[in-house]
Symmetry: C2
Subunit: 336 residues, 2 copies
DNA sequence: CGGTACGTTGGAAGCGCTTCCACTGCCGCC
DNA sequence: GGCGGCAGTGGAAGCGCTTCCAACGTACCG
C-alpha cells in the first residue's frame, strides 16, 4: 500500500514536488501529469490530510453550526434539507463537514469552534436578530458565511431569500383571490424570518388599505402555535390565514377542519417553505418555495470562495423564491 | 498571540518536549507542570491540530455515519437524541465530530470515509440486517463502533439494547392486564430493531399459548403505517396494540379515536422508545424507555477505548431498557 | 560511600506534505 | 547566432507537533 507521496514519486520517476503539483493542479507538463496520475489511480493513493494541512495551512474541513433548540432542529425538515444541501456541496468539493448543534451555550460553542484551529471556515445559521455566536464568528478571523442574515451585517457574507418580498407576494395573492380579512400567524418573534415575513404581510395589507388590527397572532413556527393561532383568528372572522411556515399551517388546517369549515371555500390557507409534505396535504397547500437545499449549496460555494480569497469582498447571495399556488387558496380542481 | 509550542516553551523556560508533555498529560513534575500550565492558561494557547495529528497519528476527530433516508432521519427524534448524546460525549473528550448522512450511495459514502484518512474512528448506525457500509467499515482498519448490531457481528464493537427482551416484557405486561388479543404493528422489516421487537412479541405470546395468526401487521416505524396497521388490527378485533415505536403508536391512536374507541378501556396501546412526546399524549403512552442519548454517549466512550487500544477485545455494550407504564394500558387515573 | 534505579528533562529526529527557489533546457526574438 | 524568458522540474526548507533516547540529578540500596 502506497502511503506517502515519496513512494509515489519513486514509482512514477519524478520528484516529490512534482507529484504534489499533480495532486494540487499545479503546473506540470501533460505527459508528466498523465504518468503520475496513472500511478495515483492505480495505487488509489490519498494524501495524508494532516500533513497537507500542516504544510498548507488549509484543512479541507468546514464547520457547520446550527445552534438551535433540538426540538425545532429535528422537528422542522427545513434544517434537514439545509444540512443535505451543504453536505452534498461539501462532498463535491471534497471537503469534510464538522457539525455543531446547540448542545451547550452559544458562548461555549463559540469557544470550541475558535479553539479547534482546524477549520477553513464556518457556515452558521443566523436566525435570531441578535446572536452572540454569530457576532463572535464574524469578529474572528475565520471565514464565515451566514444562512439568513441580520440587516445590520453589511460586511458579512450570507445566503438568504427575500422574506419580505415573498410574504408580500403571498399576501397579495390572497387578496387577489378576493379575500379581505387575511390573518397572519407569525413565526417566532425576534427571528429574522419571523419578522421579515410579518413585514411583508403588513406591507401588502397596507398597500391594499386594509386594517390588520386583530388579524395578527404570534406563533413560533410550530404546529401547535398554528392550531392556537387559527383558533383565535377564526374567532375574529378571517377569510384567509397566511402562516409563517408550513408546519404552522398544518396546525391551522387541523383547527379549521375541526370547526367544520372548508378550505379554501370558507377560509383560504397559505404557508411558507414548500416542504415535502405541503403538496400532500388535503387540500394541497399554497406556499412559498425557497430552495432550501440550494441555500445550503450556495453557502458552501460562497465559503469556498471566501477561503480561497480571504480578503475578497463579502459574498451576499439572495436566492429567489417562488409562489406555489395550490388548492388551499384557489379551490381549482373539484374534489370528488 | 502565542501560536506555537516553541514560543510557549520559551515563555515558561522549559523545552518544547516538556510543554508537549504538559499538554498531553505526560510525566512532568508538579512544579514544572504548574508553571507551564499557568502560561498555557494565560495565553489561551491551543496546539495546532494538524501538527499534532501528523506527529501522533491521531486526529481527535471521529466520524459519525447515519446513512438513513432523510425523511426518517429528521422525522424521528430518535436520531436527534442519538446525535446529541454523541455530540456531548465527544465534546467532553474534546474530540471533533464529522457527520455523514445518507446523501449518496452506501458504497460512495464508504469510499469517502475510508479515503479521508483523518478519522480516528467511526460510529455507525447499523439498523439494517444487511448493510454493505457497515461491512466495509468493519473490514477496514478503522476502529468502528456500531449502534445497534447484527447478531452475526461477533467481532464487532457495538452498543445496543435487548429489543427482544424489552418487547417480550411489554407484551407480557399487556397480557397481565388481562388482554388476550394483543396485536403488533411491526417496525420496518429487515431492520434489526423491527425483527427483534417482533421476536420478543412472538415469544411472549407463544409462552402464553396465544395464537398470533391475524394479529401482526407490517409497519415501517412511521405514523402513517401506525394508522394503517391499527385499522387492520381493529377489524380483526384486538383488545391491545403494541406498536414497534412511539411514532407508530401516534398513528394508531388517531385511528382508534376516529373509530370512537377508548384507550385503554376498549383497546390498550403501547409504543417503544419513550420519546419526549410519549408522556404528553392523551392518554400518556405506555412504552419502553431506551436511553437514546446514553447510547450515543456509550458509543463514543467505547470508541475512545478502541482507539486507545486498537488491538483490544471488541466492546459490546447492551444498555438496559425500562418499561414505562402509563395510562394508555392501565387506565389508572380517572379522567375528568 | 559507590552503585543502581528512577523520575524528570532536553535534544533531536521525524510525521508527510506544500512551496519557495534555483536550475535546466528550449523556444523565439532581435 | 546569442541571449532573455519561460515552462517544467528537483532540491530543500520548513509547517508545529510527538516521542524516542540520552543525560542528568537525586534517593535509596547494599
Amino acid at each position: 500500500m502506497v502511503r506517502t507521496i515519496d513512494e509515489l514519486a519513486e514509482l512514477s520517476g519524478v520528484s516529490r514536488a512534482t507529484v504534489s503539483r499533480v495532486l494540487n493542479n499545479g503546473s506540470v507538463s501533460d505527459a508528466t501529469r498523465q504518468r503520475v496520475q496513472a500511478v495515483v489511480d492505480r495505487t488509489n493513493f490519498r494524501p495524508n490530510p494532516a500533513a497537507r494541512s500542516l504544510a498548507s495551512g488549509r484543512s479541507g474541513v468546514v464547520g457547520v453550526v446550527m445552534h438551535i433548540d433540538s426540538h425545532l432542529l429535528f422537528r422542522d425538515p427545513y434544517f434537514s434539507q439545509l444540512l443535505q444541501g451543504m453536505s452534498d456541496a461539501l462532498a463535491d468539493g471534497s471537503a469534510g463537514m464538522m457539525l455543531w448543534l446547540g448542545n451547550c451555550s452559544k458562548e461555549e460553542t463559540l469557544d470550541r469552534i475558535l479553539g479547534i484551529r482546524l477549520l477553513d471556515g464556518v457556515i452558521v445559521t443566523a436566525h435570531d436578530l441578535d446572536d452572540p455566536l454569530v457576532d463572535g464568528l464574524l469578529a474572528s478571523r475565520l471565514p464565515t458565511v451566514l444562512i439568513g442574515h441580520r440587516s445590520a451585517d453589511r460586511t458579512a457574507s450570507y445566503v438568504d431569500v427575500d422574506h419580505v418580498h415573498a410574504a408580500d407576494a403571498m399576501t397579495t395573492h390572497l387578496l387577489e383571490t378576493g379575500r379581505r380579512r387575511v390573518g397572519h400567524i407569525t413565526g417566532m418573534r425576534g427571528t429574522v424570518t419571523g419578522e421579515d415575513r410579518l413585514t411583508g404581510y403588513r406591507r401588502a395589507m397596507h398597500r391594499a388599505r386594509l386594517a390588520i388590527d386583530d388579524l395578527v397572532v404570534d406563533g413560533d413556527f410550530n404546529e401547535p402555535s398554528g392550531a392556537a393561532g387559527a383558533a383565535v383568528l377564526l374567532d375574529h372572522g378571517v377569510d384567509a390565514i397566511f402562516c409563517a411556515n408550513d408546519a404552522t399551517a398544518v396546525g391551522a388546517l387541523r383547527v379549521i377542519r375541526e370547526r367544520g369549515l372548508r378550505v379554501p371555500e370558507d377560509v383560504a390557507l397559505a404557508g411558507f417553505d414548500d416542504l415535502d409534505f405541503a403538496a400532500h396535504l388535503d387540500p394541497p397547500l399554497t406556499t412559498v418555495r425557497q430552495g432550501v437545499r440550494e441555500q445550503g449549496a450556495q453557502a458552501v460555494s460562497s465559503l469556498f470562495q471566501l477561503v480561497r480569497d480571504r480578503d475578497g469582498a463579502p459574498r451576499r447571495v439572495i436566492l429567489p423564491t417562488e409562489l406555489v399556488i395550490r388548492q388551499s387558496t384557489v379551490g381549482g380542481v373539484p374534489r370528488a
